[in-house]
């Protein structure tokens, strides 16, 4: 079931989305997954096998830091926090993404007339 096919996430976008999520406040792994899934109206499904290695990777790069705290349900959880470097990185990634998305939309918009674009 963990191998259930899901919409493949574009390479590198998971990192960006994690940073974006943490920009709203500190969160632990479960919350981050939830926020991304909800935020994408459940189109994107976050695989834990990618999420947790990604979190550790971002921490190694110094874009996020972590601490152990109590979750909303009062459980010990590892919280992640965006660092100043991470914030700068997020800004950069966001701009880049906007440019790419716009470019792709421009290309795609010309050949096929928009139909059912709103899910």
């Amino acid at each position: 079931m963990a191998n259930r096919p899901n919409p493949e996430m574009l390479k590198g976008t998971l990192d960006m989305m994690i940073l974006r999520t943490l920009a709203q406040g500190d969160a632990h792994g479960h919350t981050i997954a939830k926020i991304i899934e909800r935020g994408s109206e459940d189109v994107l499904e976050v695989e834990q096998g990618s999420l947790y290695p990604a979190l550790h990777r971002l921490e190694d790069r110094g874009w996020v830091s972590s601490y152990w705290g109590a979750s909303a349900n009062n459980r010990r959880a590892k919280f992640y926090q965006l660092t100043a470097v991470g914030r700068k990185r997020l800004l950069h990634e966001t701009q880049h993404w906007r440019r790419m998305a716009r470019a792709i939309a421009l290309v795609m918009g010309e050949t096929i007339p928009a139909r059912g674009g709103k899910s």
Partner: protein
């Protein structure tokens, strides 16, 4: 960053486990809130998480560095495989320790002595300038073209360089001076300390500024101190200041007595200060201004050479430019002063070269010899690895069949060698430390040897050598992994049929190379040893046994009246001769083998005047009448001095046999006269004595002996000839002298045998070291030869068994196998001899009276090598010929 992650990946995994647990709990709680039963909620949460192991593996992989992992695996594997054969490992490590240790120790010496920059500001700008002779074919004493500078020439150079933008600052130094140092009440240091003779140097007032050295205490010399008649001033080295003046800062400004005259201490040099030149100077403990000490005429005398010019080049000026400028000046000096003792050319070298250029060839030769030993050790190790590899061929074949890649197998091999080399390097560093201590003590005559250390650079060198050894050995032993016949090895079990050929060829090649290097080392060692023996057995011209020498110098201040010195010398000799055990005593200014001692240009009064610039150069000595008998210099003709020939009645000389050849070819010199060029005084030749060498390694120079009692000299060397051991007289003689004059220091107490030994010290150490290296190499090469043949015989047991069974004669078999083993030795010997012909030219300058291509040495080395090789090969060959066909065939 990634390395940190790599080593902390275990902790990261633990953390991830807890994180995932939190995830499951959070998810379960959420699902439960929707009204699902607790157990079901947990199950769904687990499903949502997916395979926990996979997530952890993913992170683990992300934190890992595969190359480091496999490297560690290789290292563990190699260490395990070495542990399985400890005898091999121990032998290999010992061989590596010897090789690396010798190289590291010698590199440390080369680095400390030859490569380390001089301890002055911008040392690369500093140069030493000497005079030389431009005449083609001119024979320099001892082959040394760097001749000391006359004060007059120096003055001319300095005047020529003066200007708004000088090419260089030039200063003057005269190392090799000496003073009698004594203390008195009211002066610096405690009064009543024993007088001593100390080495000193004169310098111009700007000398320390040229080097960029500022005094640690007080001031340097001022130009006003550096003039004839100026108040006497002196600077102390840090060592003397601490030793004799208790490091008392108040010593500056106080008096010290040098040659019984008071000098004001104006400054103390820093502890780091050292001046070392090709003409000595490193022992100087007191510095005094040359202009005052030399007296009037320093810059107007052109034929008295006792200085070195030390210069600092202006930026963008090169040494050749300066030398060519000064050469022009010196040609002008020669033109206006055509006397033969005035030199016509200038030669220079960097100040570092000035200090150490004499040791360059010997030290690099020793390092090369040590490198040669290490190379042989590596090849030997590679041979051993090959043998091991052959023994493990089945295991390796299985692993190759199971998919171990070639590079993997090579990496393991290099890793094994790296372990061995690393252990060898660690032990080698310890060995280098020990041997360095010995080397520093054994060669006190080397400039800069005191500062030799195992510093960071040496450790880096060790690591580099270690890596090179591992790579060389590993790769050399892997050139053929023989996996072409993989299937054959697997099928054939223990006896690879023909699969070992590649190994054998390679091993023979390695052994031949070992033998070749060994031959070069042996020949080098043979030549150096022969040269050393010739140096040791040099005939000084006088017997060197039972002769003790020591120096005294009567201070002018106490012995100023004419006759006072003569009276002291006579009294001294009478008392010395009366000592029990003394069979003779004499006084001379410079004893045989103990130095130049001065020379003078003469002409023969009875001969027609020679053309100007063509005078005769005689070395001069002053001796008492009994000296010749005491030292054993034979009288060949005429008579010696009488004790009546003294003071103003002393216009007689005794000359040496070679002086007769030079001045009176084919004539009877007795009764003729020689006249000093500069003094104009004529002396009657009354006798002819034998020749004596002034330096152990140089031929005797024509010499002229003047009577010591003519009162011109205050310094003398006492020669005591004893019936028993010469050393036994030393204490008694010194006590006798201090009883006669307690203020008179005695210095340089040594036997003539020691004089010769000291001159041969460098040759002794060099030849012994190279001999030791050569013997180690010979042992390794012999072991290599034996190993290859023994292995070969084991491999061919079955074949040999068949031959014997078919009726091969054992003698024939012995010869065949022996020749098989000797072939690489003979090839190696031939190559080694050819390489030696080239190599010995490099050490030609280290050889004394020994031609580099000495046939006897070459023949002896070839013979010795063949004998050792035959012995090494005889045992396996004999075993092969004694094989019982039954056992042999069964073993096959």
């Amino acid at each position: 960053m990634s390395l940190r992650r790599y080593f902390r990946r275990g902790r990261a995994d633990q953390e991830l486990k807890r994180e995932l647990a939190t995830f499951v709990e959070e998810e379960a709680a959420e699902v439960e809130a929707l009204g699902v039963a607790a157990a079901e909620a947990r199950r769904r949460a687990r499903l949502k998480l997916g395979n926990e192991e996979r997530i952890r593996e993913e992170l683990w992989r992300q934190n890992s560095m595969t190359w480091l992992d496999s490297l560690a695996r290789d290292a563990r594997f190699a260490a395990r495989s070495l542990r399985r054969s400890p005898a091999f490992a121990i032998v290999a490590i010992l061989v590596m320790t010897l090789g690396i240790g010798a190289n590291v120790a010698l590199y440390a010496v080369v680095r400390g002595v030859l490569l380390r920059p001089l301890p002055y500001a911008q040392p690369q700008q500093l140069v030493a300038i000497y005079e030389t002779v431009s005449l083609p074919g001119y024979v320099f004493d001892g082959g040394n073209r760097f001749m000391p500078v006359a004060g007059g020439s120096f003055g001319a150079w300095r005047d020529a360089l003066a200007g708004p933008r000088p090419m260089a600052e030039l200063s003057l130094v005269s190392p090799g001076q000496q003073y009698n140092l004594s203390s008195r009440a009211g002066g610096a240091g405690a009064a009543g300390q024993l007088p001593e003779k100390i080495d000193a140097a004169w310098c111009s007032s700007d000398f320390f500024a040229t080097l960029g050295v500022t005094p640690a205490l007080g001031r340097g010399f001022a130009p006003d101190d550096d003039k004839p008649g100026a108040p006497a001033t002196a600077m102390l080295t840090d060592g003397l200041w601490r030793r004799r003046f208790d490091a008392d800062p108040a010593a500056v400004g106080k008096m010290v007595w040098l040659d019984a005259a008071p000098y004001t201490i104006v400054g103390v040099l820093p502890a780091s200060f050292v001046y070392e030149s090709g003409k000595g100077g490193s022992a100087a403990q007191v510095w005094t201004p040359a202009g005052r000490e030399y007296g009037a005429g320093l810059t107007s005398i052109f034929d008295d050479h006792q200085f070195v010019a030390v210069g600092r080049l202006a930026p963008s000026v090169t040494l050749p430019e300066l030398v060519s400028r000064l050469n022009a000046v010196q040609r002008g000096v020669k033109a206006s002063h055509p006397a033969p003792a005035v030199h016509d050319a200038v030669i220079g070298r960097s100040l570092l070269d000035d200090a150490v250029s004499d040791y360059r060839t010997p030290l690099y030769s020793l390092l090369a010899a040590a490198g040669c030993v290490l190379l042989i050790a590596c090849m030997n190790l590679a041979g051993l690895m090959l043998a091991r590899h052959a023994a493990r061929s089945q295991e390796i074949a299985v692993r190759a069949a199971l998919g171990a890649s070639r590079t993997r197998l090579l990496r393991e091999r290099v890793m094994e060698c790296l372990w061995l080399a690393a252990a060898g390097a660690a032990l080698g560093l310890a060995l280098a430390r020990l041997s360095l201590g010995w080397l520093v003590r054994a060669r006190p005559d080397l400039n800069r040897i005191d500062a030799v250390r195992l510093d960071a650079g040496t450790v880096w060198f060790t690591l580099a050598v270690m890596a090179a050894c591992a790579l060389l050995t590993g790769v050399a032993s892997s050139l053929r992994t023989g996996d072409a016949s993989l299937a054959g090895v697997l099928r054939g079990g223990r006896q690879p049929k023909g699969g070992g050929r590649g190994h054998d060829g390679l091993r023979r090649g390695l052994v031949a190379a070992e033998v070749g290097c060994t031959v070069v080392l042996l020949i080098g060692a043979g030549l150096l040893l022969k040269s050393y023996q010739r140096l040791r057995s040099v005939d000084l011209g006088v017997p060197i046994d039972h002769a003790l020498t020591m120096q005294i110098s009567l201070p002018d201040a106490h012995y100023s009246q004419p006759g006072q010195r003569v009276e002291f010398f006579e009294r001294l000799l009478a008392q010395l001769r009366a000592m029990p055990g003394v069979s003779g005593a004499g006084l001379v200014t410079t004893a045989p083998g103990q130095g130049w001692g001065g020379d003078v240009l003469v002409s023969v009064v009875e001969h027609p005047a020679a053309p100007k610039g063509d005078s005769l150069d005689l070395q001069t000595r002053a001796a008492d009448p009994g000296y010749f008998a005491a030292v054993g210099l034979p009288l060949l003709r005429g008579r010696l001095f009488t004790s009546a020939e003294r003071l103003d009645k002393s216009r007689v000389v005794v000359i040496s046999a070679s002086a007769v050849k030079l001045c009176f070819p084919g004539e009877n010199p007795i009764g003729r006269h020689v006249k000093g060029e500069s003094s104009g005084i004529s002396y009657e030749v009354v006798g002819v004595v034998g020749d004596a060498r002034w330096r152990v390694d140089l031929t005797p120079k024509p010499t002229m002996y003047l009577p010591l009692y003519n009162n011109t000299t205050s310094a003398a060397t006492i020669v005591v000839h004893s019936r028993g051991r010469a050393e036994a007289m030393a204490v008694a003689a010194q006590q006798l002298i201090s009883g006669m004059d307690p203020d008179l220091p005695v210095s340089d107490v040594r036997t003539l045998r020691e004089t010769v030994g000291r001159a041969a010290l460098g040759a002794q150490i060099n030849s012994l070291l190279v001999l030791a290296f050569a013997l180690i190499a010979l042992l390794l090469a012999a072991a290599g030869l034996y190993g290859v043949l023994a292995y070969l015989v084991t491999q061919r047991t079955a074949e040999i068994g068949v031959r014997i069974a078919l009726g091969a004669r054992r003698g024939q078999l012995l010869r065949t196998v022996l020749w098989d083993g000797l072939r690489p030795a003979v090839i190696g010997l031939a190559c080694g001899l050819v390489a030696s012909v080239a190599a010995v030219r490099l050490i030609a300058s280290m050889l004394f009276n020994t031609p580099p291509l000495d046939t006897a040495v070459f023949a002896a080395v070839a013979a010795a090598l063949l004998i050792v090789a035959t012995i090494a090969c005889l045992m396996p060959a004999w075993r092969a010929s004694r094989l019982s066909p039954l056992t042999a065939l069964r073993a096959g």
